[in-house]
Symmetry: C2
Subunit: 197 residues, 2 copies
């Protein structure tokens, strides 16, 4: 990936705002031209076309999260601690990039062909780090075995869905919200848990 | 609410399919006219306008879930069992109405004025049943106290986010997925949980 020019970063930011407010399909290129003060030719020079913009916005933070997750996997051996660090970094990233995640979850399904495949591949890479972490915890006997994809979908749902409410809830810093979710997912809320096994 | 005519039900179904695929803003009335084989005048006679359609689709299952939740609250006294029954009925409803929930989560923010207020009020009513259930469990000493809104957002996120993946994952029936999520949320996945307290 070539580093982003300030102009391109500005276009991506304006597009993320428009897509998050009006939806990808509901945003016209004329609106984007007006928002960034560029004519269509200059705009296309910087970003290609509208779908390329959606791809950049939908994929950029996912790409960052894959790198972060693979790094955590290398650095943190203990499955519980790795799980917690994956959670904290995800919640921080969603809090810092609510617009991009809103566009991602609302509209990445509008992508087609290789762009869609690329986003699905990034999602898979990211989810696989979590899955390997859950499996590692089960292998060493720290975690209870759970129906595989369901457990992963549950924990990722706790986090992913936060793009809907995180901006409005300034009660706790993102890392602490992640810790609460992890505590709940890891130890549950029942005072008298049934025997583990 | 007047009972729906078969014609209106057919229009709502077609609109839900179009909105779920193209987004609310990305769906034109001409597409809807073509999909249901009606001219604009006849369409408006049945549904009012496009925002009224979005409201019907976004609010209908939420309204159903508020009724179901209030009924469970009356019928089921034990907080854990009430929690589980709320979870099962939510997951079943999302599985049965993935299209409507997709439209709801992607686009209910496009609603304005009293229609938006009405959906926000229904969401609040529904969430309050869950919150009262969590509080009841804490009051009787069954559940650990958790930062209030965060716990609720976590558990609802596990379920709500399933509109994204539920259609693709036919591995377990919805009620059983709900049970797995509840077991995880209630008892956690750590084999050796730290002392409760």
């Amino acid at each position: 990936m070539a580093p982003k020019s300030p102009q391109k970063a500005r276009i991506l930011r304006a597009a993320a705002e428009l897509f998050a407010e009006h939806g990808y399909h509901g945003t016209g290129m004329a609106q984007l031209e007006a928002a960034v003060g560029l004519q269509r030719g200059a705009l296309y020079h910087h970003i290609g076309n509208k779908e390329a913009l959606l791809f950049e916005i939908s994929a950029s933070q996912l790409r960052v999260m894959v790198e972060i997750a693979l790094d955590i996997e290398k650095r943190v051996e203990d499955p519980e601690e790795r799980f917690r660090e994956l959670a904290r970094t995800l919640m921080e990233n969603i809090a810092d990039h609510v617009l991009e995640w809103t566009v991602h979850y609302r509209d990445f399904t509008a992508l087609t062909g290789p762009l869609m495949e690329s986003v699905l591949d990034l999602r898979k890479q990211y989810e696989q780090v979590w899955q390997r972490t859950l499996n590692a915890g089960i292998d060493v006997g720290d975690f209870k075995p759970l129906p595989e994809s369901v457990a992963l979908k549950g924990i990722l749902g706790m986090f992913n869905y936060s793009y809907v409410w995180l901006k409005k809830d300034a009660g706790l810093p993102p890392r602490e919200i992640a810790d609460v979710f992890c505590d709940t997912f890891l130890t549950g809320i029942l005072r008298s848990a049934p025997p583990t096994g």
